[in-house]
Amino acid sequence: MTAGVCLILLVVVGGLTLFRQGSRSRSQSGGNWISLIFRLSHAPKLSASHKILVLDKFSRPDPVLDFVMQQVYLFDLASQQARWLTMRQASVAENISNANTPGFKAGDVAPFNEIFDGTALQMAATDRNHLGAGSSDAAGAPIANGTPWEVSYSGNSVSIEQEMIKSGEVYRAYSMNTSIVKAFNDMMMASLKG
């Protein structure tokens, strides 16, 4: 009887490990949840040595597995960067189309890392007299170009060359972004198919 339980345990543990490694889109807590159910449902039937085996397998953080699981954020990060890049492309398109509009000031979006630097919890204002921290909507707010290359007599600060360079940067970064996502997807598929 002990040998049968041990066999079932090994099969289930192996399956769960594969599942955890394969479905990397689940967060760390998802894995713990599965292990918790597993322990709750199987622990009373197992002998002491098997319990230790189960606990060792699931409760102690495995550095390699943790590292792999943290890569899950890459999809999120890549998607955020893609969104930021498309917004930058829209800003470049605005500048280019207004390249001959008198008085138009060229704009740009805030740098990508500033969005993370500015991400913070907002204080809730429950009273009118509370000081507001201000909205940190840095992602979509166009900011002025630091140094426009040329300002024409009509007050237009769009330089087509500068915008073309920015557009090229967006293209390169977007191409890298999609390549990374594709590579990561291939890795996932490889781990699923074996």
Partner: protein
């Protein structure tokens, strides 16, 4: 806010439209560079000017561009002594349009370049689209 890439296409499209309107005005000016009046001493063709303005699109929140107004150039006409012309006044002077061909040519070049830049943006935005769609393809 709609998809920024779609907004880019819309913005660049408005740029194309504005620049082509400008090219149309330039071609009108060039075509009428020698158009005198029909009666004696009548005013000839007056050079047209075009101005742009940036327009906030309510749907996308993007700054589109549009033709603000088509005005006329108030600068004085050139005059030329040509007593045989039907439009010559009693002293034999003919008023010619205030169109400077060189200026129109440079205006045309600028409109052309801006048009090309907008086209480039459209092309690039399409590339971004196809790269995104490429993620779905089996490699």
């Amino acid at each position: 806010m709609i998809d920024p890439l779609e907004a880019s296409l819309k913005i660049a499209g408005s740029g194309l439209e504005a620049q082509s309107a400008r090219l149309r005005i330039v071609s009108e000016n060039l075509a009428n560079a020698q158009s005198t009046g029909s009666l004696a001493g009548a005013s000839p063709y007056r050079r047209k000017t075009v101005t742009f303005e940036s327009e906030m699109d309510q749907l996308t929140g993007a700054d589109l561009v549009r033709v603000k107004s088509v005005g006329v150039d108030r600068s004085p006409f050139r005059t030329e002594l040509d007593p045989g012309n039907p439009a010559a006044d009693e002293k034999g002077f003919v008023k010619l349009p205030n169109v400077n061909v060189l200026m129109e040519m440079s205006d045309m070049r600028e409109a052309n370049r801006s048009y090309e830049a907008n086209l480039q943006i459209i092309q690039q935005t399409r590339n971004l689209y196809s790269m995104t769609i490429g993620l779905l393809r089996n490699s």
